[in-house]
């Protein structure tokens, strides 16, 4: 009797599965023929409106901006291609303070490919090195590259930056590559080599700016298992400290961590950031307690360089794609300064509706007086954005 019942259950399950397959196949029969032509263009317009609370007096103000971002790449022949990328950010200052526009020419260069595995680029190129998410010591071209900060999202800071005028050559071979570039202003030379060794592909870098000592770098990634990637990024060399000392000493900068991805499309990243050129804990406390002008100059220089003002930081990032409902992405970020225990958090909900993205962003920063994040002018902020690709 029990055997018959089990057999009947199996038959019913098989029948249900067959019906589900039939329904799915019928649906597939009606799938539309999607025809998308490859385009040389990728452009969008984005509008943002929000409110922020000023830390100084606790008042709340409105922020409004409009951005146009254009990317173009075109293959002229088998050997020649051109690329162009530009962005205009217009923001309206609070309380009728007028309009302010910033243009960022990201790229404008021609590329020549004499061989399948050899290329030469000339013009304005956006060069970015580094395998970490929140802090990239080997990304030497980040210094002064961000002209308009529209979000603290690391992806946004990497996208909205100015390129440098340069000549870049690249040679590839089976399992490796060599890239050398020279940027005229202010005389920067970078050489990067990647070579596959077993299951690893380390990238070694050497960078020199004007007559400063050569800086070395290493980028390395590996798999712990099918769900976990580890990253290690290091840059080191003799350099003056960020405090403006004239004497140079060997200084290391490190960014290392891992990204774990669950089966439900949730990726979690944790990183440790170390900046050996920043003020140490005692130096940072002296700076905070010292003349306000010296503190302001230091913060301004560090911000321009997109570096860390203190030695150590913990960074967390999470991205959950198709969270709760399809096409909804939830992203979160949190930084803790280990020298002064100040914190910054950021959260974004982004919904993709065809060619349009709707996003809600929120951020807050906390910390004692003149700490890393406790000194940021905006204590809390939120922003709605709408982006349309065309």
């Amino acid at each position: 009797m029990r055997r018959h019942a089990a057999l009947l259950a199996c038959l019913l399950a098989a029948s249900a599965q067959a019906q589900e397959d039939v329904d799915a196949l019928k649906l597939a029969d009606e799938a539309p023929a999607v025809v998308e032509q490859r385009s040389d263009w990728r452009s969008f317009v984005e509008a943002g409106v929000g409110r922020f609370v000023r830390r100084a007096d606790g008042t709340s103000q409105t922020s409004r901006r409009l951005s146009l971002d254009v990317q173009y790449e075109h293959t002229l022949s088998q050997k020649w291609s051109v690329a162009f990328a530009d962005r205009i950010d217009t923001s309206w200052l609070p309380e009728g303070g007028g309009r302010h526009s910033i243009n960022t020419l990201k790229e404008a260069y021609a590329s020549w490919r004499p061989l399948d595995d050899a290329m030469l680029d000339i013009g304005r190129v956006n060069v970015r090195n580094g395998v970490s998410l929140g802090y990239n010591p080997t990304d030497w071209f980040r210094r002064g590259a961000v002209r308009s900060v529209v979000s603290i999202d690391p992806a946004s800071l990497k996208q909205n930056r100015e390129g440098a005028d340069m000549l870049r050559a690249q040679r590839l071979w089976n399992g490796g590559s060599l890239t050398a570039l020279y940027a005229r202003d202010p005389g920067r030379l970078l050489v990067a080599m990647t070579q596959k060794i077993g299951g690893l592909s380390p990238q070694l870098l050497a960078y020199r700016e004007q007559s400063q000592p050569v800086q070395l770098g290493l980028n390395l990634t590996g798999l712990v298992n099918d769900a976990t990637v580890v990253m290690f990024e290091w840059a080191g060399g003799r350099a003056p400290s960020q405090l403006g000392d004239t004497t140079t000493a060997w200084r290391d900068c490190i960014s290392t961590g891992l990204t774990y991805t669950t089966a439900s499309k949730l990726s979690l990243t944790g990183e440790f950031h170390y900046n050996g050129a920043a003020a140490d804990d005692a130096g940072w406390n002296r700076l905070r307690a010292g003349p306000p002008l010296a503190y302001a100059i230091y913060r301004n220089q560090v911000q321009q360089a997109q570096d860390l003002p203190t030695r150590r930081e913990l960074f967390f990032h999470g991205l959950w794609q198709d969270a709760l409902l399809p096409q909804l992405d939830v992203a979160a970020m949190h930084s803790t300064d280990l020298a002064d225990h100040s914190r910054r958090s950021w959260l974004e909900l982004r919904y993709h509706a065809g060619r349009t993205d709707l996003a809600l962003q929120w951020q807050r920063s906390d910390g004692r007086h003149l700490t890393n994040f406790g000194a940021l002018p905006e204590a809390r902020a939120w922003q709605w954005t709408i982006r349309h690709y065309f």
Binding site: D21, A24, L27, R38, S39, A155, S177, T261, Y389
Partner: protein
């Protein structure tokens, strides 16, 4: 080589019982040769995803694939054509070496095999795969099964077990057409025995010298109303130098 295997298999079947019957592994290799040519090639993969009967997403990818001279598994370079927000993003699939390059940020990001870039389709579903490289066909039995056109067909059912660490699934059941070894459908299982998905191979059309499936319908094992339709078009033989199969080439990859 794969074409030769397919030919040998067909001859063996046509010659009747006197000839040596192909082994299950030979049938699997012949089935791989129906899905993929044995040289470097390019195609366009259009994915349309449905949930609860409603279209939720569509992606268009331009893919170049080339078999690894050491081992035979395919490596692929992928460029997003659509949707607009992902256009021109690039992915390298080289075994477990996965990289995403975003032209907006110029950032190359290392991905883990578990990081899926498209809705329900796993990375292995999207790019070219030789099952015979990563799975061992344990047995082959004849049975009737329902095909992608909802017709009952005579088939050979192969039971596949993962044979190395690169395999994405613990176990696969695959039904192929007797004689031609054309894949009809496959069911993919986790180590715990859970059915993860079913794939139907259909719409056979001439492509690169033989009839190949130009549509794969993927049905989720846990949510059967989660369906992905993958359509292959623009098949073309391509020259893909070995030096292109690395992270540092990704920013340069522009499919024709």
């Amino acid at each position: 080589m794969k074409r030769l295997t397919a030919l040998l298999f067909s001859c063996a079947v046509l010659a009747g019982p006197a000839a040596a019957a192909p082994t299950p592994q030979e049938i699997l290799s012949a089935s791989d040769a129906v899905r993929n040519p044995d040289y470097a090639f390019g195609l366009t993969n259009t994915l349309v995803e449905y949930r609860k009967g409603k279209q939720t997403e569509s992606n268009v990818l331009a893919i170049y694939s080339k078999a690894d001279p050491n081992g035979g598994q395919f490596r692929s370079l992928v460029r997003y054509v659509a949707p607009a927000r992902d256009a021109n993003k690039l992915i390298l699939y080289n075994g477990k070496d996965l990289w995403l390059f975003d032209p907006s940020s110029k950032a190359s990001i290392r991905l883990s095999p578990q990081q899926r870039l498209l809705g329900q389709a796993s990375n292995g579903d999207v790019v070219t795969t030789n099952f015979a490289r990563d799975y061992k066909a344990i047995d082959a039995v004849e049975e009737d099964t329902q095909d992608g056109n909802r017709q009952t067909r005579r088939s050979i059912k192969l039971n596949l077990a993962a044979s190395n660490a690169d395999a994405n699934y613990h176990r696969i059941e695959m039904w192929v057409e007797p004689g031609s070894a054309r894949p009809i459908k496959a069911r993919f299982y986790s180590e715990s025995g859970k059915m993860l998905k079913t794939a139907y191979y259909r719409r056979y059309q001439q492509a690169l010298g033989t009839e190949r499936p130009t549509e794969v319908v993927i049905i989720d094992g846990l949510e059967p109303d989660w369906v992905t339709v993958m359509r292959y078009t623009d098949w073309a033989k391509r020259e893909v130098p070995e030096a292109w199969m690395q992270r540092d080439y990704l920013p340069r990859f522009k499919p024709e």
